[in-house]
Symmetry: D2
Subunit: 407 residues, 4 copies
Amino acid sequence: MSNINKVVLAYSGGLDTSVILKWLQDTYQCDVVTFTADIGQGEELEPARNKALQFGIKPEQIYIDDLREEFVRDFVFPMFRANTVYEGEYLLGTSIARPLIAKRLIEIAKETGAVAISHGATGKGNDQVRFELGAYALNPEIKVIAPWREWDLLSREKLLAYAEKHGIPVEMKHKAGGSPYSMDANLLHISYEGRHLENPAAEAEEDMWRWTVSPEKAPDQAEYLDIEYANGDPVALNGKKLSAAEMLAELNRLGGKHGIGRLDLVENRYVGMKSRGCYETPGGTIMLKAHRAIESITLDREVAHLKDDLMPRYASMIYNGYWWAPERRALQVLIDDTQKHVNGWVRVKLYKGNVIVVGRDSKTDSLFDSNIATFEDDAGAYNQADAGGFIKLNALRLRIAAKLQNR
Amino acid sequence: MSNINKVVLAYSGGLDTSVILKWLQDTYQCDVVTFTADIGQGEELEPARNKALQFGIKPEQIYIDDLREEFVRDFVFPMFRANTVYEGEYLLGTSIARPLIAKRLIEIAKETGAVAISHGATGKGNDQVRFELGAYALNPEIKVIAPWREWDLLSREKLLAYAEKHGIPVEMKHKAGGSPYSMDANLLHISYEGRHLENPAAEAEEDMWRWTVSPEKAPDQAEYLDIEYANGDPVALNGKKLSAAEMLAELNRLGGKHGIGRLDLVENRYVGMKSRGCYETPGGTIMLKAHRAIESITLDREVAHLKDDLMPRYASMIYNGYWWAPERRALQVLIDDTQKHVNGWVRVKLYKGNVIVVGRDSKTDSLFDSNIATFEDDAGAYNQADAGGFIKLNALRLRIAAKLQNR
Amino acid sequence: MSNINKVVLAYSGGLDTSVILKWLQDTYQCDVVTFTADIGQGEELEPARNKALQFGIKPEQIYIDDLREEFVRDFVFPMFRANTVYEGEYLLGTSIARPLIAKRLIEIAKETGAVAISHGATGKGNDQVRFELGAYALNPEIKVIAPWREWDLLSREKLLAYAEKHGIPVEMKHKAGGSPYSMDANLLHISYEGRHLENPAAEAEEDMWRWTVSPEKAPDQAEYLDIEYANGDPVALNGKKLSAAEMLAELNRLGGKHGIGRLDLVENRYVGMKSRGCYETPGGTIMLKAHRAIESITLDREVAHLKDDLMPRYASMIYNGYWWAPERRALQVLIDDTQKHVNGWVRVKLYKGNVIVVGRDSKTDSLFDSNIATFEDDAGAYNQADAGGFIKLNALRLRIAAKLQNR
Amino acid sequence: MSNINKVVLAYSGGLDTSVILKWLQDTYQCDVVTFTADIGQGEELEPARNKALQFGIKPEQIYIDDLREEFVRDFVFPMFRANTVYEGEYLLGTSIARPLIAKRLIEIAKETGAVAISHGATGKGNDQVRFELGAYALNPEIKVIAPWREWDLLSREKLLAYAEKHGIPVEMKHKAGGSPYSMDANLLHISYEGRHLENPAAEAEEDMWRWTVSPEKAPDQAEYLDIEYANGDPVALNGKKLSAAEMLAELNRLGGKHGIGRLDLVENRYVGMKSRGCYETPGGTIMLKAHRAIESITLDREVAHLKDDLMPRYASMIYNGYWWAPERRALQVLIDDTQKHVNGWVRVKLYKGNVIVVGRDSKTDSLFDSNIATFEDDAGAYNQADAGGFIKLNALRLRIAAKLQNR
């Protein structure tokens, strides 16, 4: 293990990654560079700096980055251009953050001359795959240290014992058993897994949810939003221009207030098992509805269908950790190309868990032509007789087959 | 036109098809057989019989069929096995009824020796295509009379004038301009198009909706449902076995009560234009959520993904009128085959427009294995070290490419 | 019909389009602009000019364009980047030429102020669709005159009678019954349909084929070619740089000499019937093989598989006439993006109908890594133990399902 | 390792699996059951029995099975119903044999009470994956021993040394360096990998090929075959009914004689690297062409296109080892369902490496209707005017978009 000089650790400042920090120092006798990112998880980052200092990390090897704009602009928005949903339900809130973390880990490794990276994801989950596929795609020579796959601290008791033995501060909640859930948060969502949720027949407890009120407790008054789109991305809310991260934060606030975006599902992990998870994605839930609505008037039918046909595959690429793979990049080129006409606005109504599209228009790119669609007289814009030929030729192969069968 | 001896007309008893009935008698000098189906549209059928008699139709040439069970069992349920949604939103309530009407028209034509069928769908819509593709697929020699594509009664004024001239009773509402919407209803849904909706920027009027209360007016108390599935179809509700039509009717009642299943969208018609429609699909909205939930624990991941990849194509087949085409039948064989293990129950919570899945289980077919998925110690059911190899091999092609690019 | 001032006719100079020319003049009392393109069909174009002059066409309204380079560079090569094959066999030689003709017709209409275009394609084939979809996509206001769908000259006798009556020169071969085949040629291929081929059970006659010798008559000596690729296109042959059209012409010459590229098939037309066609595509057959070979070492696996999955759809778009549609353009963006690394060379051996790939390499972009692939000792480039974990996790879902079934 | 009582070894009788046999006995101190299958590889099986006896295997634990009919009937033919080709070229000769071997290994394990199976596939290839995924899918509790991933005999020298030390007979050819290729053969094909082929730029040596003559040495006289199909499978050759294995053997003989079915390619392995392989698949090459031809007249267009769209995915399933996975089985249900009308005959001409389809017909299921397809007068079977409406409606969305862009 002497060939590891330095390792960059994705460091949250929490118990698990603090234990990992110490374990890396002891096991590999190497320098550790900590990397802590603000991707909108809603936690203070300075405590992570202080903890890192306590472990003897040099100040210049403590990286604390505000990645919120980059996260939303370069990862979340591109994904929403595809109306991406995994297995019909999941908005990929965890999946989409991992490639950004992987990218920064590799960048920092390069800057600091580290030959390895490390993370706190377990050996059972998808995140290890996402971190590591990303890392290998960006630096094929990188070494990856995944402590959960290597060490023997596989139970919480052993972990706590290790922490106490090495003087790693353990908060009261951990001693008391801690949060009953394994959680992950960023600007797009917060997720819950484990413990009480491991029985998929049982309803999640109301006090688990953190970002959204329940629909029951949401305001009795509906709220309308006007969302403006440019090239497939939301750029203004109720007439006010917002940056990517501002937009998502504001939609989260509004969605959360109205009880929007809770999800309880069983999903199929890439590593092979089914897993029950609960998610809150208030802003994302609004964006998905609104994006489909603006596309509904600006996108050509066959382009929209092509996107729909490819979407599940694109979603799997992201879920499985292939953001940095060439097939995801190639699909993104197609998706982005389709968005150049996706301009206009959408009006949605938020009410007790519902996101209701009530209007949509585009001054520049609407393909909705009321003169043709009308049930009234269209003054010759459409010749109904054409439909007869259309049907006849589309029916031809069916008729030939039916004739044969009737013979 | 002398070669048409007899024509079977899809007859609702309403103004339009009554005018068509008269027009067929006059124009083709032929016998007309009327066919009126109860597919759950919620209207009395006996008035249609009386009207037909007034037009001189012989009693034995008036067909009035209760097709509700067949409709749900053989059309709606098979479609829901695929989690079918057109363009991300539309549950295909109109589309799925048309092939059944086409089938009965052809059957009745055979029974009565008619060489032609006729329908009241306009030349701008999808329904003409669905009726006629279905008819041609089932009887390649059938003649189709589509009055809206042939006659000159293209405005409402002309239609009313024709009706008055020929003594066809016109209800007060028609004289007053009638319903502002073009509507279609069956056990799966009711749809609204036209008039006020032709501006996609404008919100639909609250008093348009007929089947559902608004979420605002729905009960303040949530309601839980237990839905039991067998081979992918819902078979019991809260412990009570229900026939297919009973199930859908009851889910409609419950969904409607809780403000569930309203939809406002712009869709792409097969005939080439965009069209704005509003839909109420209360029971269907519940079924879609619940079916995905029961599949989430009983379907293999790759089978589920295969279904997801094919679903948009399957949806287009139904939307475009290809129910009776061999490609839809072939896909159905695959879909049905996947449902043999889709057995178990789902618990959903209905509340003010929301259908929230809160639990799911299967005694016989659950692939959810909490021993493997657990975040706790799994006693060796899963070897975390395997993940290292899994990632390494999946990363291999990415690393080889990265090496080349770094060269 | 008085609203047609001027019409641009796709004019070959042959009998059919000459009759059309005269018929347009008589029927529409309008100016006709003739457009004759050299797309490599191998016929003199000056006779077309002389004939047009004889019909009174003004010299400045006679367009004769050499489009060979544009055809191969902007249509054929982009299509071959996708390894495009329709229904497993057909290389789309006719289909790919039509959008170029449509584009020039629309351009010339604009230049000459014509409101209409016309072509000689019949109402039963695909070409009418390709011409007209292209034209409408490029100019939505264009009027299309398709004489074969309008006039009453539907038999060859009537056509000849019309020609004689109007003094249109009829060559001897037409009087004698003419070629037994309906043919179409351009730099990519020559096609044969009709007459003797209408019985799909019967072998095509040897003397039908025009561009290739039979494999039996091809040289006894094989010939090797080195084809160099840049960004997915062939750019040099045996070390000599060639323009797009030169490349295809030379590959045609070589392929034809060696009996390569004959094809006899039954295809499904877009208009609904099956049709038997024979094709000679000597250069294209070589290019398809060679392109797959250069991709085999330069394209990532998943990118290659994504292309393979989309190819049949892309082929149908072209076959059906949607070259200028947004869905084809969107797919092209993806396809072209994948070709940036498709650089290198391929060696093929031509021998009596066979195109045999015998070698391929890329100095800059080969992803083939013999150190990893070797059956010999790889000095640690690949850890065989990783495969165990890879298999175990890929098997996990299968094992969970098998356990359930064995229960 | 004491928990392995007995292991079933896929035993060829060759050097590698003989060393494995001995190594298993020594390492696991367990009973070994040998399983040797005749799947048409063209080698005597009795020597394998004798060798097994020499290793002390009990006669009742030596399984020697003739699986040729099962192999072709239940594996090869179902695969050819889908026109399966991996990466545009490879006919999956090795891939398709593995699931049968896996199935028998599991059956024999059950019969003999063995808890483990073993095979001689290396850790770098696809075959380990195919064997093991198949085994796990059929028996989730089975233990797999893959010596090449476990032992330290990774070079040929060490293997020979081990053999000599343990008295395992080593044939002269092995001492002399053996065949320069890694080969695999069964009734569908013979494959070559390794050594001289590891340079993809170099042409394969002529004396490598074993089953086919070179096109140059094939007869100067072409040979015609009539192949009769029933439900998508070839059932008679030149009028003579043949069993599945007889059919493939006879097509191999004929194809080999005429130099048909050689292939030289670089493929993407499931384990992540590119690999160069050469294949001889004479009968399969004929079957692929002929099956496409019989489908061309009997399959509906959209069904055929659905199959084409799914084929690459189906091919990957087989290539990657998922034959026994539920997604492959689900696809097979669809594929098999489409074949019920694939009845008729195809005539092919074999000549110096070429398989040329020259005719096809079906008395019962031909959808080719010469009355409609004809270029001659069709007596009203097809109304050319219908094409106008067909084109107009298909163009509508393109025109609306063009209008917007021209605005």
